[in-house]
């Protein structure tokens, strides 16, 4: 839409906006659309949806508050932002739940219509904060606007819509206003609405009208003294889209299946925050994807393993409680040495825990949560877009080494989004798999035979001989197998050998890993901050903050948690201090201390939320000081 504003424009380099409202207010959609329009403008960005565990908690209550934070900038962005600069609060509950996060001086855009005595009482406001001076007194820039009634008024010509229906479009009005305030083009959102409501012209028009009314309000009102512009970020050339971690992960699996030439068979049982992967893959049948919604997680992984036995790419997706149920079958996959990808989108635990919140506390479950010596490969994704690459790497390892691979993501990565420089399929690794088709050994009398546990010398992988292959009929199973022949064996020495062989096979994976990348621009750092998984963004942002003060800190991030990269020990020993932030009580730190005897300094928090950059920067400063203090002669 053309811009008639006369309001002066101010350039900003970055902005964090949080949209907050009742679960029924459509805040996720509003945030999503703002994000898309922002992406189209060329800003770098990162988002953090935050929603309640209940579908529709009682309206207007604190548990019912849903929010969506988007951080956009003219430079590259590592996190969704520690704290919002702007808080959009659609009701008193949203204000109350989020105000503490808004720094003094921040901008507040509030739907004043919802601040009725009844709604205020619901969340325990004795007086109306919009009127009692508390907000302006605290230094907030308050814009208390009647968003609901403005929407209803704008939709007056839509005589067939009820008042209630009209009110629902208030999020579009808010979106229009914010788009004006931050100079976003709403063409993308208009196209989106067109696609969504094309079949319902009345509703389409109503939504468009509300959107435009919000924009027009901005142009005409004097409520806002300035509007803002955030210039595009200089991003590498390419074709971009915004993508959430779960979407990227699903696409990574499909891409890997195509590159491997194996049909993808997903066995899954719904669980937050992993269900979106099941949903997404169920729409991709045209790419040969089969999705089976099982009766439980045990069946889900069983179906995946059965499909793998048949020569498909067997995948199962879940979250922590589901991973617990899958343990025994993953052990079977270890024993049968079949490829299997197990995706765990971690959430707060134990037990049901915090279903919609993020955590990294399944690492030890992934590593050791099975009976017996049962090593599996473990890889972790570090950002929403990286979920794509991590999925491909998980498939590579699973098919090359004929092993289960646990791919760890989490709720923050799964639901968070960022711009993705879409790769070309030709640039993706070739994952071609060869099945066994011929006997691979000689029996005692020198006749050719097939031995299902005769291993590849380089990878120690056993042959993948799928049913339907003549002459290679064989039986596998969970009972210990004799080395080479694969017959049942209770022989003590054989068991000892097989346990070590299975471990050695996993260890061999390290041979194919690229050297660790260390970010230590000056080479003067003596403190290394190490991370894995979704702490990548916060650590990157914190490192920047620390370096901005002139201090030196190095940074490295692990994709592979089992096996650990071969050069990790040396790296840890190169620095005087290693700091490891984790959203658990120090699980990787425990592993590293045990493995390398390095005094890793753990920093932990399990609040269901990602670390803030400021918090980690503070931690790093403390370690820098502590290190300096050690050198002060006494």
């Amino acid at each position: 839409m053309t811009d008639m504003s006369t309001t002066p424009l101010t350039q900003l380099d970055r902005v964090v906006i949080r949209f907050a409202g009742d679960s029924g207010d459509g805040m996720q959609l509003t945030g999503d659309r703002f994000t898309s329009d922002t992406a189209a403008l060329g800003n770098d960005l990162s988002t953090l949806p935050n929603f309640p565990a209940e579908i529709r908690a009682p309206q207007g209550t604190l548990p019912g508050v849903s929010s969506f934070q988007v951080h956009f900038a003219d430079h590259d962005v590592a996190t969704p932002g520690d704290a919002p600069d702007v808080l959009v609060a659609m009701n008193p509950a949203a204000l109350k739940a989020n105000l503490a996060d808004l720094p003094r001086g921040g901008t507040l855009i509030v739907n004043a219509d919802e601040f009725s005595r009844r709604n205020l009482a619901k969340v325990g406001y004795a007086a109306n904060p919009l009127e009692d001076g508390s907000l302006t007194g605290a230094g907030y820039h308050l814009h208390a606007l009647p968003l609901t009634s403005m929407t209803v008024e704008a939709l007056a010509p839509f005589t067939t819509l009820t008042r209630k229906e009209k009110e629902r479009a208030k999020n579009m009005l808010a979106l229009g206003l914010l788009s004006w305030l931050y100079s976003r083009d709403t063409a993308g959102t208009e196209a989106f609405l067109q696609a969504k409501f094309g079949g319902a012209p009345e509703i389409l028009e109503a939504n468009l009208t509300a959107l435009r009314a919000g924009h027009a309000y901005g142009e005409t009102t004097e409520d806002f003294a300035v509007r803002y512009q955030v210039a595009p970020a200089a991003m590498p050339p390419g074709t971009y889209r915004t993508i959430t971690g779960n979407q990227a992960l699903a696409l990574g699996l499909v891409a890997a299946s195509e590159r491997a030439g194996l049909p993808l068979v997903l066995g899954s049982y719904p669980i937050t925050p992993a269900s979106d992967i099941l949903h997404q893959l169920s729409t991709l049948k045209r790419h040969g994807v089969t999705t089976l919604q099982a009766e439980d997680e045990i069946a889900a992984v069983g179906m995946a393993l059965g499909a793998s036995f048949g020569g498909a790419l067997g995948v199962t997706t879940t979250s922590g409680p589901g991973l617990a149920l899958k343990s025994e079958t993953i052990g079977l996959a270890v024993a049968t040495e079949l490829p299997l990808v197990v995706v765990d989108i971690q959430r707060g635990g134990p037990s049901t825990g915090l279903p919609t919140k993020t955590e990294q506390a399944d690492l030890l479950q992934a590593m050791y949560g099975r009976n017996g010596e049962s090593p599996v490969a473990v890889v972790a994704a570090q950002s929403p877009t990286d979920c794509f690459d991590a999925a491909i790497e998980a498939v590579r390892i699973a098919t090359t080494y004929r092993t289960p691979v646990i791919l760890l993501s989490d709720g923050y990565l799964g639901n968070g989004s960022e711009p993705w420089n879409v790769p070309s399929s030709a640039d993706l690794p070739d994952l071609t798999v060869t099945f066994a088709t011929e006997p691979n050994d000689l029996d005692d009398e020198g006749r050719p035979v097939f031995h299902p546990y005769r291993r590849d010398e380089a990878t120690l992988a056993r042959p993948w001989a799928i049913p339907g292959t003549p002459g290679l009929e064989h039986r596998i199973g969970g009972i210990e197998k004799a080395d080479v022949t694969g017959h049942i064996s209770y022989d003590p020495d054989n068991h000892d050998r097989m346990v070590r062989l299975r471990q050695a096979k996993i260890d061999r994976i390290a041979d194919t890993l690229p050297p660790l990348q260390v970010d230590d621009p000056t080479g003067e750092a003596r403190v290394l901050v190490l991370g894995w998984g979704s702490t990548y963004g916060p650590i990157a942002a914190a490192t920047r903050l620390v370096r901005a003060t002139g201090a030196h800190v190095a940074r490295a991030h692990l994709r592979h948690l089992n096996p650990l990269p071969a050069d990790l020990g040396d790296l840890l020993r190169r620095y005087d201090r290693v700091v490891l932030p984790e959203m658990n009580l120090g699980q990787l730190a425990l592993l590293l201390r045990g493995r390398y005897l390095v005094d890793v300094h753990s920093h932990t928090a399990v609040r269901g939320l990602p670390f803030t950059a400021a918090e980690l920067a503070q931690v790093l400063h403390e370690h820098l000081l502590a290190l300096a203090a050690q050198e002060v002669p006494v």
Partner: protein, 405 residues
């Protein structure tokens, strides 16, 4: 035969359709189906007889040996796959139906068999068993029922009778048992049969029908465990006793127990219940039941399954139910195939990755972007046309309010 309008396409096909047959010049025999592994069941175990019957029967299918797969759980009976020279997986306790579901769905060209015990199938694996039957996956499930946990040395099982004195029930079991046939019928199984280890001819006949059935065929096999539950089915094995107790189910025939003077038939009483009465005493208020395993209504088959009680007074054997219903694996494959073909031209991976909403960053003018909106790349609608305003759209955004426990 029943086909439902609009349901998955094909008219009933053989359970073996799609599985490659052996070349005509190759005659497979029992020998080719016997692996080189030493069989390790106790002497006299009923499992031997079943193994021999299966090894003897498989060549009759005329399939390529490499296209047959046996998947089992854990238990004495679940050792079965090791003794057959086909593909096989001896999996974990109770999970074979799930694993077999994945395999059978991924591979139309395989004949997939499940071997399980009463503990494996009905205790730990009960959930997978009922769901496999409900879905009607094209599997043949051989449920070895010895009314005991054999492998773990003699604890009672979900089919043990109330009062059974076992290792873990010295004072007698207080658990009410499952009747596997009733359970299967209740779980929507399309093929349900009962047979016995020692009756090779009957066993083979049932196997033949089960293999030909497209969908889940549940075959309960009464199997003697001479070590921990010897004689559990003696009343059905002793010739005279068996004659007076076993009701052989034959399609289109009355259900008869015993013969000659002592012959009894199953009748439907005016109340609707089934009764067993001497054949020459059938009254006009009683209707002689003619067995119809193909009856879409499962109630007669279910009622027949209830004739059996711990005293084994009347024991129906044979095929209780055999109806056609689209199979899960066929339907799943049909959806994928339809999506692949209706895509017309192959949807490239690159199109998929780019999605609907992209912009390009041109290297020459940093920051310059150009937005394009492309067609959908998923085969489902990205968003169902909503009749509500934007609130509904949150479901599209996929974030607001998933139910979460």
């Amino acid at each position: 035969m029943t086909t439902r309008a609009g349901a998955a396409p094909a008219p009933p096909r053989s359970g073996l359709a799609g599985v490659p047959t052996a070349p005509v010049d190759v005659t497979l025999t029992k020998k080719e189906f016997t692996s080189d592994q030493e069989v390790r069941w106790c002497p006299g175990c009923g499992d031997y007889a079943v193994l021999a019957a299966v090894q003897g029967f498989l060549p009759e299918l005329g399939l390529r040996r490499e296209n047959i797969v046996f998947v089992s759980g854990i238990g004495c009976s679940s050792r079965f796959p090791y003794y057959l020279d086909t593909y096989g997986m001896h999996s974990i306790h109770g999970r074979a139906p799930a694993i077999a579901t994945g395999l059978a769905t991924a591979r139309e060209d395989l004949s997939v068999w499940v071997v399980t015990g009463d503990g494996d199938a009905l205790s730990i694996g009960g959930n997978h068993l009922i769901h496999a039957m409900r879905r009607n996956v094209n599997l043949t499930i051989l449920l070895f029922n010895n009314k005991i946990y054999g492998l773990t040395k003699g604890q009672y099982s979900p089919t043990s009778d109330v009062g059974a004195v076992t290792k873990s029930t010295p004072a007698g079991s207080v658990d009410h048992p499952f009747n596997p046939v009733s359970l299967a019928i209740g779980a929507e199984a399309t093929f349900v049969a009962r047979t016995m280890d020692s009756d090779r001819a009957h066993l083979t006949e049932v196997l033949r029908a089960a293999a030909a059935h497209r969908g889940t065929a549940l075959v309960e096999i009464y199997q003697n465990c001479p070590i921990f539950n010897d004689g559990a089915f003696q009343l059905l094995k002793d010739k005279d006793q068996a004659e007076a107790r076993i009701a052989h189910l034959r399609a289109g025939e009355p259900v008869r127990v015993g013969s000659g003077e002592l012959a009894q038939v199953v009748v439907r009483e005016r109340s609707g219940r089934l009764g067993v009465v001497p054949e020459h005493e059938v009254t006009r208020s009683q209707q002689v039941l003619v067995h119809d395993p193909h009856d879409p209504d499962p109630s007669a088959a279910f009622a027949l399954s209830r004739l059996d009680d711990p005293s084994m007074q009347h024991m129906p054997m044979g095929i209780f139910r055999q109806v056609d219903r689209p199979t899960y694996d066929d339907a799943v494959r049909a959806q994928v195939d339809a999506a692949v073909t209706s895509a017309g031209t192959v949807v490239s991976l690159d199109t998929l990755l780019r999605g609907r909403d992209t912009w390009t960053v041109d290297g020459t003018r940093p920051g310059e972007v150009e937005q394009t909106l492309e067609g959908e790349v998923t085969d489902g609608p990205i968003a169902a046309a909503g009749d509500a305003l934007v609130e509904e759209a949150d479901e599209v955004a996929g974030a607001d309010g998933p139910r979460t426990e």
